[in-house]
């Protein structure tokens, strides 16, 4: 149990082992550990961020849905209004058309009636003259009694 050259041999072995460990063993192992720690930290952070994002997105989706519903209701309302207006407009237009047609018919009938009256009047005048001519065949001057005839005709 005495001190001998083994001391020096062990000292050298110790130095070599520590050097080897420092150079080739420690750095890659620690790098792997620290790298993984960073990865895990990043992952956790990302998951928190994702959760927040999800919450935000859900909020946004709800809001959009609400907006869409409101818009749809508005559109339906507008469409109903427009449809009502269209129906009303068409009804009015039809009414106007009808009235116009009816008015036209009246005018035409009036015109026809006037024409028929005119014609009738002319024929009656001629008939009256012819009748009077036959009654007063003798020298009644058609011209002298013309004013009477005219008067008769006007009374028709």
């Amino acid at each position: 149990m005495n001190i001998n050259a083994t001391l020096l041999g062990q000292l050298i072995a110790f130095i070599v082992f520590v050097w080897f460990c420092m150079k080739y063993v420690w750095p890659p192992l620690l790098a792997a550990i620290e790298d993984r720690q960073k990865k895990i930290a990043d992952g956790l952070e990302a998951s928190v961020r994702a959760e927040k994002d999800l919450e935000l997105a859900q909020e946004k989706a709800t809001e959009q849905l609400k907006d869409a519903k409101a818009q749809a209701a508005e559109i339906i309302e507008q469409a109903k209004k427009r449809a009502n207006q269209l129906v009303e407009d068409e009804t009015q237009k039809g009414q106007a058309e009808r009235e116009k047609i009816i008015a036209q018919g009246y005018t035409e009938i009036e015109a026809e009636r006037n024409r028929a009256k005119e014609e009738l009047r002319a024929q009656v005048a001629a008939l009256a003259v012819a009748g009077a001519e036959q009654i007063l065949q003798r020298e009644i001057d058609a011209n002298a009694q013309n004013d009477i005839v005219e008067k008769l005709v006007a009374e028709l």
């Binding site: 001190i3 001998n4 050259a5 001391l7 520590v18 460990c21 420092m22 792997a32």
Partner: protein, 286 residues
Amino acid sequence: MASEITTQEYILHHLTNATMCSTDDGLKFSHGEELHNASNICAEAGFWVWNIDTMAWSIGLGILFLWFFRKVAKSATSGVPTKTQAFVEILVDFVNNNVRDSFHGKNNLIAPLALTIFVWVFLMNLMDLVPVDFLPTAAGQIAHAATGVDPHNVYMKVVPTTDINLTLALALGVFILIIFYSIKIKGVGGFLKELTFQPFNHWAFIPVNFILETVTLLARPFSLALRLFGNLYAGELIFILIATLGVWQLPLHFPWAVFHILVIVLQAFIFMMLTIVYLSLAHEDH
């Protein structure tokens, strides 16, 4: 085995290192008869005797540790680790946390140094749990078969940390680093000032301070070396004593081995922790 030799010889046999030294005839093993009388062939070599078993086991275990860790380090991934990698990472993380808790400077050496000390010392201590007769007997038989020497004259001390040379070498390595970083961080003047103006900050106390601080400084490596050596040597000695009890060793060996599991981990941890603390002190500038 114990039938041919006395208990005292048995214990002595287990506590003797296999030594080698260079003689005029070249590199030689010293054998038992020579060791215990004047004709020991290594007696003249003085300091230049090598405890070949300590060297072989410690370097073998150190290479095993570095080979295994290097293998894992090369294929280390920051993704999902394999079970082996996870195991190694637990150790690395454990050491790293201890270093970060106790050492506040920036130094790339401390953490790998602490890891090497912890794992290496643990592995060497772990050899203590191999039943005391297994490896020495095997070595004796192999040497007998190979060279024909008497197996009783072949020595094999399996636990390297029961050799004061090894623990002192580790402590000296740490001591050199303490001196190196003290001078590097504080400068020669700062280091000397720390040795002479503490704890009494007055010029008249310089000699007293110097003696106190030098004792404090030197106590560090020696306490490191002797603590580890003492614990492991005592533990090994008790294993050997238990092994001499014949059939009674069966109920006794197991509880002592279980208790020793605690000791070997604790001693490795204490050596690592104190190394970190001492180097941390060396980095502190007042």
